[in-house]
């Protein structure tokens, strides 16, 4: 018997209210992410990729449809229960890193382990957590940057810190929203190497939103989103014809005042 997928979207719809109008963004998404699998999500800007990622990460609730984790429904859980699940099972990596500027690199990584720990329990485990954070920083190649603030780090270094932060709570899924979208190609290649190594070593599932055809090609599976629906599943040769994604979502384009860039 095969285990259920880690994450499942079942006929997920999402629309946003804009004044008196409902703008549909997702119109029935069905998707599965198996344990250890890497899936690339492609689509035009404004197609709803980030929206889908947020729904899968339980940051938002679908207008209709269900999100399942390990085969059981989770989108209807209470706020604190979804928060706990997010903390323990799901890691996020964002295009703009989203590090906390007041914290050093190692403190940013530690923060990822403090979300559901009581203050008292933390005082007991402080040293262990700090050592884990230091080990993760070493793993992403930043052992000597632990005490630097985000504004003292380059873009690639910041993204590595963010990846370490996503890893410290030992999630089973990492949702990455254009993780290399803000990096030059050389740096991006390094960050991607890191992500795929983590996938191999820890068998964490990856769901990657990207514009980068090269990145998509290296994933187990590519999923394209258009008109609020999934276009196709597996691409046999793992290649996108010319690596260019046409801006082909009229609904999204109509509702989009300006590119949010995320």
């Amino acid at each position: 018997m095969t285990p259920p997928p880690v994450l499942t979207a079942r006929d997920v719809h999402k629309s946003f209210r804009l004044g008196s109008r409902d703008i549909p963004v997702l119109r029935g998404i069905d998707l599965e992410l198996a344990q250890g699998e890497t899936v690339a999500l492609l689509g035009a800007s404004g197609a709803g990729k980030s929206t889908l990622l947020h729904l899968l990460g339980l940051l938002d609730r679908p207008t209709a449809g269900e999100i399942l984790f390990d085969g059981s429904r989770v989108d209807d859980l209470r706020g604190w229960q979804r928060a706990r699940l997010r903390h323990r099972q799901i890691g996020f990596v964002f295009q703009f890193y989203h590090l906390i500027p007041e914290l050093s690199a190692i403190q940013n990584v530690q923060l990822g382990a403090l979300m559901d720990l009581g203050l008292g329990a933390w005082l007991g485990e402080r040293r262990a957590i700090r050592e884990r954070a230091q080990a993760l920083l070493a793993d992403v190649g930043l052992a000597d940057r632990a005490r630097h603030r985000p504004n003292e780090l380059s873009g690639g270094e910041r993204q590595r810190v963010a990846i370490a932060r996503a890893l410290i709570a030992e999630p089973r899924v990492i949702l990455a929203d254009e993780p290399t979208g803000n990096l030059d190609s050389e740096t991006a290649a390094g960050v991607l190497e890191l992500l795929f190594r983590i996938n191999r070593e820890r068998s964490i599932s990856f769901f990657l939103v990207t514009h980068d055809a090269g990145l998509a090609a290296r994933c187990d599976r590519v999923v394209r989103i258009r008109d609020g629906r999934i276009l196709d599943g597996r691409i046999p040769d793992g290649r996108i014809p010319d690596g260019r994604i046409p801006d082909d979502n009229p609904a999204a384009a109509a509702a989009r005042p300006a590119d949010t860039g995320s």
Partner: protein
């Protein structure tokens, strides 16, 4: 994985998540503006401790001084020709009445005779030789020294100056009078210096202001109206008395307006009273109530008992000073209002600085949510930040307040000596120093109150933060 944390009904989140403490302190540390909230709370807490202690001391002092000049119960508004013996008989039938003392109030003027004398050579006999500023108006209270001593604390406020009996308090010896005359370079008293002389006991304040000296001669003028053959006639009297022992009750108005003397001197020498056939007139009777008896109950009972024959009013010591005590209460209420306003300003500062913090940290709130913070956790983060501001402010405020209470008098004296300027005009209230009275219970109340108000002020922005949509918060720049 053993635990399945996304199961419904899993254990609740911690009371204070570690990230809240971890972040709140760092958020505050890099924003000096949060010092405003700390200072606001510190100022408000220290002001409260200072003012509350000052007022508590002030009020207890005032009550003490009021108590000194007020008998347990005062029987007043008596008919004109009442005889003290009858009143006394009626009052002492009550089991709760321990003793009574007659009092007779009367207005008079006095003038120091030894000084500012107009030289007789230059003054023609028809010229006005006494200027208004040389005479003083005074409200005389004639007391029966022995009875007063047994009944009230009033005579304890008179400086003894060698007096052996209560009666001695209101007389000076011929030797003392002659000593004063010699000191002034005056001729010895005309006539033989025999027998004790009647003395007027004046407030220490009045003696200091008037530059009066012990055993100095005073002319005391008074007048009464009497009915002769259907006509009402003015009957002026004057009498030489001597400056007696000063008294000091610390009840400012009393000390400045009253003078004490023997009731017999007042009756016989100033009001032409004839003990053989006039009634022993009084205007009031001081009553001492048995220890443990409630003066209010006794006063009410006495009033009922005296209603038919005398129509008297019986007032407890608090009722006698109602206006004065009410004024102090009102002043205190006003002060408390000011303190509440100060507290609200402090709370508002906390609210504004936290609101700013929440606005600046919108994106971070989204990040924290993505990392697994619940709305409750976000709420606690900002509540904790507010709590830190309030706690540090309270600690500073308590420290400052205690320092101020401890050193206010020293500071005041130092400022007075160094710059000739008093921070607190204690003398205005006839006080030697500021009468602080500090009770730990109030400090605890002030701290609890301030923390509660601050928590409320922090709760509003914290709730706003907790309600942010994480997706929108992440998108904000």
């Amino acid at each position: 994985m053993v635990d399945t944390p996304h199961e419904r009904g899993a254990t609740r989140e911690p009371l204070l998540p570690a990230f809240a403490g971890f972040l709140a302190l760092r958020f505050l540390a890099v924003r000096r503006i949060n010092l405003i909230g700390v200072i606001g709370i510190a100022v408000s807490v220290s002001a409260m401790i200072f003012v509350i202690s000052l007022f508590a001391g002030f009020i207890s002092d005032i009550r003490d001084s009021v108590r000194r000049v007020s008998p347990d119960v005062l029987v007043t508004t008596l008919p004109r020709d009442v005889d003290f013996a009858d009143l006394d008989a009626a009052l002492t039938t009550d089991d709760d009445v321990v003793s009574t003392a007659p009092r007779l109030r009367h207005y008079a003027m006095y003038r120091a005779r030894g000084r500012r004398r107009v030289s007789s050579s230059s003054a023609s006999s028809s010229r006005l030789i006494v200027r208004a500023d040389e005479i003083q108006l005074v409200e005389l209270i004639g007391v029966d020294p022995d009875r007063e001593w047994r009944t009230t604390q009033l005579l304890e406020c008179v400086a003894p100056f060698g007096a052996r009996t209560p009666k001695d308090l209101f007389r000076v010896s011929p030797e003392q009078v002659e000593a004063w005359r010699i000191e002034q370079g005056l001729a010895p008293s005309p006539g033989l210096a025999v027998g004790t002389r009647p003395a007027l006991s004046l407030g220490l304040y009045r003696i200091n202001v008037g530059g009066l000296e012990f055993a100095e001669e005073l002319s005391l003028f008074s007048a009464s109206f009497r009915e002769i053959d259907g006509h009402v006639e003015l009957d002026p009297e004057s009498k030489i008395v001597y400056v007696g022992r000063p008294f000091r009750t610390e009840h400012r108005v009393f000390d400045q307006t009253k003078a004490l003397l023997d009731i017999d001197v007042l009756r016989e020498d100033l009001l032409d009273y004839d003990p053989s056939f006039d009634p022993a007139i009084v205007t009031d009777v001081a009553v001492r109530v048995r220890d443990g008896a409630d003066p209010t109950t006794v006063a009410r009972r006495l009033q009922e008992r005296l209603a038919d024959r005398f129509g008297a009013t019986c007032l407890t010591w608090e009722q006698q000073n109602q206006v004065y005590l009410d004024a102090v209460d009102q002043e205190q209420a006003l002060m408390k209002l000011v303190l509440v306003v100060v507290m609200l300003v402090a709370a508002f500062l906390i609210y504004v600085t936290l609101h700013m913090l929440v606005t600046q940290k919108t994106r971070e709130i989204g990040v924290l949510t993505a990392l697994g913070a619940s709305p409750g956790g976000v709420l606690k983060l900002f509540l904790f930040a507010g709590g830190v501001v309030a706690t540090v402010g309270c600690a500073l405020g308590v420290g400052l307040g205690l320092l101020a209470v401890t050193y206010a008098n020293d500071l005041d004296r130092w400022a007075g000596a160094e710059f000739g300027f008093r921070l607190f005009p204690a003398s205005l209230y006839a006080l030697d120093q500021l009468p602080f009275h500090l009770e730990p219970g109030w400090v605890v109340q002030v701290v609890i109150g301030s923390l509660s108000v601050a928590a409320l002020a922090a709760w509003l922005p914290a709730r706003r933060a907790a309600r942010f949509q994480p997706v929108r918060a992440l998108a904000s720049e």
